[in-house]
Each structure stands twice: as C-alpha cells, then as structure tokens.
Symmetry: C2
Subunit: 432 residues, 2 copies
C-alpha cells in the first residue's frame, strides 16, 4: 500500500517588479510568486503531485506556512484512497475543526487547501496517465457530482440539478474531445494593456495580438479616467470593430464612482468590465451592472469561494465570471463554480497570468467544455506570456488558442533549476 510520505511547500518568487509587466491600478509592483506544493509518495511508480498557490510576493512565506499546517491531514494517508475519492479528500481538508476558524473557506488557509487539493488531482491524473482536463472529462457524471461539496449551495444548485447538467453533456463528449485536440481553446490576451505601458507600446502590442490570432484583448483601467478614454479609443482604433476589448479595474472603485467612470467608456463597445469594485461586494456589482448597462460586468479572480460565486449569480450581479485555479479550494470547488455557471447560463472567462495560472486553469476550462457546459467558442482563457519557461509542461498557444495539454497531470510542475534559482530568500536570483 502506498502512502503520502511528504507534503513540501516551497517559497518560490520571481522578481517581476523589476519591470513594469503586471502593473495595474491596485497591484503596482508584483513579484509573481508561488507557494509551491509537492506531494511525495512511497509508491513504486515514482509519481509526485504538484500544485501551487499564486501570490504576488511578500506573504508568500505565510502562504507556505499555511500549506505546512495541513500536513497532519495529508501525510501518512493511503494514496489509493485519496485518488479514488478526491471529493472526500477535499472535504477532509476544509473540515479541520480548528483550522476552519482561520477562514472559514477564505484567504490564506483556503488557498493552501486549494494548493494541496490541486496537487492531489495532479497526482491522480499522472497515475491515470492523462492530462487533468481529460481525467476530469472522462469521469462519469456520478463521479463528477461526488467531487462537489454542496454545503451552502443547495438553495441555488442541488446534486440532482448538477447531475442533470452533466448527463445532458454526456452526449457529444467524444466529438468535443476531438474538436478540442484539433483546434485548441480560445485565449484572450492582457499583454497590450498594462498600465505602465506607453500608448505606442499599447498600439504595437494590440496589433501584434490581433496578428497572433487573439479575438479579445484586455486593458487595465482605473488610474486616470482621461487616460482610460484615450487608451480605449486608441485600442479600438487599432484593432477595429471585430476584436473584443475588455477592461479591468482591479477593484479600484466604489459603486458610485465606478458607474460614473465606466459611462465614459461605454462608447468603446467594451466586452466586459472586470473587478470594478471590492470582490466581496455582490450587491455593489449588481448596482454597477444596472448603472453601466449594456456594458457587461464580471469578477472572480479574488472571489474566495463557491458561496460568493453563488450569490453573484443569484443577484444577477455579473454577466460572466472569471475563475482562478489557485484562489478557491482547488479543482473540487472550481467544479462547483463551473456547475453553478452552467446552471445560471453565465459564461466563464478564466483568470490567468501570474506564474503558473495559465498552466493550471486551462485544464478546468477544457474539462468544462467537454463535460459540463459543452461550450468554448463564446468564452476564452486569459493568456499572459510570462514565466512559462519555468514549467516542465508549459502552455502552448497557437493562433490565439490554448492547445490541449497531452502530458499527464495538471501542468503545475516547475523545472528543478527554476525552483532552485528562485527560492526565497536563498535562491541565486534573490541573493545576488
């Protein structure tokens, strides 16, 4: 019998604040970082499970400590049991009667739980010899329902409703898998739109994005309204009418100021305004959505659990949602959120960028296409061309689309040399 013999958590940081990439209205100087998780087993197969929690620098040590605090729930457990019932494994981490107080189900402790759960899914998919998207997509509807913790969801989504959604998606699965492998999944790019960029750079990168096949670009907004009007006008003039332009305020505004600011930008046919205000403010998003119609409203990268997503949908506060692979309680909670989105008929545009988020979240979007919503041409995964070189199985983008990963696992594994050089504070990048 194989057991989990180690839960490693490593503080790995990339000094991205030394350039202006990644700057936005709320995050001027991120050092993209990972509290990097490895689940070691004593199985003969030699597989380890890899996961990560994304942070933006300071505090990555706290995130790492939180992952270590889960060791008593993980180390010593039977590997076969874990991979045979990942739903039970996920619930066992969230249910620790003392750790629960630190959330509950939010912030540092919840992200730690998510990182470990993702590592367990990576391990399970590796043992099955499948990329994670396919490992999920080829589960039975019963198995997928069993992954989801319906606690606090049943007023919006019952297990029976979830099962019904999955059953309807069973037909056509094989064709969608073939379509996904052939064409890939639509991507959109934030590369042209960082706040620190000049107009010239915005224009050049927007042109490049269209030439590269992207059908949606995204601009950061929220520092100065006149700048935003000028940048949106420039972007629209550059890409023409057929390319979608989204904007992202990174939680910059109160409700009233958001509405006033965004009304200045309606004329540019905005695909969505992302994070106009506090990610906690469900009712605020609903008020903004009414105030800026017909501009679609979105949020999600900081939405801390399924209960918050449930309310965003119940309150009709958003037109679409972002999901993030490393913010909530791992694959299991993201499956719950994808099921909620399917139930409410809301499109999902996964959040990515940072370090590793593209690698992770592509699997969730692809599993959704094959097994849940059955749709991908009306949605897209965020893509930022940063730091992929540090991964063993990096994302592959062709003509503005994510190619379906074929290597087993969740694509979370970093190269040993990258980890070694970027360990904080001792790695070569930080100690020189």
């Amino acid at each position: 019998m194989a057991r989990i013999i180690g839960l490693e958590a490593l503080d790995v940081r990339f000094p991205t604040s030394r350039r202006l990439d990644g700057s936005d209205a709320m995050n001027p100087d991120p050092d993209y970082s990972a509290a990097y998780v490895v689940l070691r087993t004593d199985a003969d197969d030699g597989f380890a499970g890899h996961g990560l929690v994304f942070t933006i620098g300071r505090g990555n040590d706290v995130q790492t400590a939180a992952i270590h605090a889960l060791s008593h729930l993980v180390v010593g457990r039977d590997v076969d049991e874990i991979v045979a019932d990942l739903g039970a494994f996920a619930r066992s981490l969230s249910a620790d009667s003392q750790l629960r107080w630190l959330g509950p189900e939010k912030g540092v402790i919840h992200m730690a739980i998510g990182g470990v759960i993702n590592a367990a899914w990576d391990l399970a998919a590796r043992r099955a010899g499948k990329p994670l998207w396919r490992f999920i997509a080829e589960m039975s509807s019963e198995q997928i329902v069993a992954q989801i913790d319906f606690r606090y969801l049943t007023d919006a989504l019952t297990p029976e409703e979830a099962f019904g959604i999955l059953k309807r998606a069973e037909s056509g699965k094989a064709a969608r898998i073939a379509e996904l492998i052939e064409k890939g999944y639509p991507a959109y790019t934030t590369s042209p739109g960082w706040l620190g960029y000049s107009d010239e750079k915005l224009e050049r990168l927007a042109k490049q994005a269209v030439a590269d096949g992207f059908r949606t670009i995204k601009l950061k907004v929220g520092a100065n309204v006149e700048d935003d009007v000028r940048r949106c006008r420039l972007a629209r003039a550059t890409v023409g009418r057929d390319i979608a332009i989204a904007i992202d305020a990174n939680q910059r505004w109160d409700v009233g100021p958001a509405i006033a600011w965004l009304r200045r930008l309606v004329e540019f046919d905005i695909a969505w305004i992302e994070e106009p205000t506090s990610p906690d403010d469900v009712l605020g998003h609903a008020a903004i959505r009414k105030g800026v119609a017909p501009m679609p409203v979105s949020t999600g990268e900081h939405t801390h659990n399924r209960v918050m997503f449930k309310q965003l949908l119940q309150a009709q506060a958003v037109d679409l949602i972002q999901i993030d692979a490393a913010r909530v309680g791992g694959v299991n909670e993201n499956l719950a959120i994808l099921m909620l989105a399917a139930k409410f008929g809301v499109r999902v545009f996964p959040h990515a960028g940072g370090v590793g988020l593209c690698e992770l979240v592509q699997h969730l979007a692809m599993a959704d296409f094959v097994a849940i919503s059955g749709r991908m041409e009306d949605r897209a995964i965020e893509f930022v061309d940063h730091l992929h070189e540090h991964f063993v199985d990096p994302v592959r983008i062709r003509c503005g689309r994510y190619l379906a990963p074929s290597a087993p696992g969740m694509s979370a594994q970093m190269k040993e040399t990258s980890i070694r050089e970027h360990r904080f504070p001792g790695g070569a990048v930080w100690s020189q």
Copy 2:
C-alpha cells in the same frame, strides 16, 4: 523621537479541548488560542502595545507568521506619528501592495492586520492614560471619522453621514460616561448552552445565570432538532418569560434546512438565531430571515470585513449584528461597522468568549454607547467565564453587566506567567 523597535507575535494556546466547554455544532474541540502581539517602543515611558488574534488551536502558528509578515510596515516607524493618526496607520497596513493579494481584507492576513492595529490602539490609549473605550469616546467627531476607511462603503455610508451621526451623539456624552461607569454595560451569557452539556447542567446553569443578573442567555443548536426543541423548551421553562433566549447554530445549515429547523423553535420566543448558515451568504441570511419571521436573525463573528457587514445591512438580511474585536481590521474597521449599524438602525450584540475577546470587545461596545449609537439597554455583550484569569486587567462582571474598565489600554495584556506556560509547543502546559 520614539520608534517602534519590535513587533512580537507569540503562539499561545490553552488546552480547552480537554473539557467540553466551548463545544458547538461546528467547533467540537477548540483549543482557545491567541496569536499574541506586542509592539515594543524605545520611548522613555516604557509602554508597549498589546493585541491578539483569537484562533481555536491548529493554525495559530500560521496566524503568528502572518503577524510577523507585517514587520516591515511597523518596525522603525515613529510612535508619535502612529498614535496621532491611527487611521493612516491602519490604512498603511491594509494597503501593502503585495500582502493585499492574500486577502484582500479577509482571513489570516486581515486578522493579523487587525491584531497589530489593536495593539497600536492599546499603546495609544496607554500613552493617553485612558481605557480604550474612553480614549475613543473622547475623540472629536472629526477624529473618529478620520479613523474609518470609507473605501467600498460610500454607497451605504458617506463620511458626511458618519459625521452627522457622531455630531448628534455629542450631546449627552458626559452623562453617558457617568451612567456607564455607574451601571456598567449589559452582558449576556452563553455559559449554560454548550452542546456538550446535559439537560441537568443546562437547567442548573440557566438558573444560575438568571440569579447572577443576566437578562439574556444563549444556547448552541444545530446538532439534532429534537434535542434543540427539548433544550429550548427546558430553557424557557427554567428562565420564564422575562429572560431572553438566543440560539446559535454556528453556520450549520443550508438555507432550506435552516428554515425548516428554525420553524420548530419559533414557539420558544427566540431573541435571535445566530449564524444559521455560511457567514459569507448575505442573500442566504436574507432568505432565512424571511422564512423564519418573526424570529430575528443575526451573524457577524465570522463576517470578515466592513464590505460584508454593509451588504448584510443593505439586503436587510439581519435584525442585529455581532461584531468581533479580532476578526476584522482592528478598532478602525470595527468603528466603520458600528457606524454602519447606527446608520441602518441595527442593534449590536458583540461576540466574545474564547480567550481575550471579552476583554477587547467591551471597549468597542462602550465607545459605541458613549459616542456613536448612544444606546446600551437594548443590546448586550456576550460573556463567557473562561480564561479571564490570564489577563492583567480582566473583565469585571457585576449583576449581569460588564463594569467599565478603568486601567489604560484595551485590556489585551496577558500575564507573563500565563504566556510562558501556554506558549506552543514549548510551554509547560503543552510539553508535559
């Protein structure tokens, strides 16, 4: 010029799980713990600032690590500047551009910020020679408004409205201070109602509570509905019609089951049902409130910031709220929450118990009475008679009321011997 020369964070745990005190439907085995904060200065006055974050055992090390992660924002700063503008100090901790990602404004990092902010208020009040409640209450209305971060609040409460509420409360302040010192502030007690207690013990402790002068008692519910019916009936028969009985489900239910369960208990004239469901579920609380009327609904001890409280009030999801001294961003955010409650005309019944929570929160309730709401007889502070012996200035209860503290500070300071013996894992209590 005096500077902050140290930010200490100590992992202090009490082995309360060895008895059944503190057991409820979600927290069966808490070890009441404190991530204990000390701000050291090099001032000649010798004062330090004391604060704490309450946890229930495992994870207190993570909480301690999060406090340490704030050192760069605190150590080296000018003490006079900090105490002269605690609003700016509080905002500077919440605004760290990288740490913010770990919340934002929720969970481990936000509680750490709250612990440090509370320690700074403790220090400021000690230097002023006043108990914290009086230090706050004797600020000008302008000064109190300046403590509050109105970000994300202005759709519900503007600085001008807050100022108006405070100005109205200026009249009668001196009389209310005299009344508070003479009579104390109403308390209610959870002592009879822990789930682990026998009916005989419930009855005995309920009688004792009434004899001790408490006008409200609270029972934990949510494990078994027939037990709850029996326990509520017994409690009502024991205390009679004139004593209020509240119940607390500690987040046990989904929306539908909460309504079904609580309808069984309406006949016992319940003062409020506390935490019927997820603390994140604003809309869920609103649905439960409609479904169980006229039973009042409450929540708050796990409500993670002012944005969530704002929505509970906007959605008319609660009839009253709990505040907690150590869950949100310290005194400053609790002032924002008290102002919101005053604006919406909702009563506040502060959460306490655990270790140190009674000591801390009494100051906030008393400051509210004197300077904000002007009311106390229609509300009460929770009281649990646990672990007060470990504090230098413990709460004093007479005839079911908290006596106003007279010693300078926030009453958060623990005795040196208690800290030493309860340090985890090396203290005598843990290593024997």
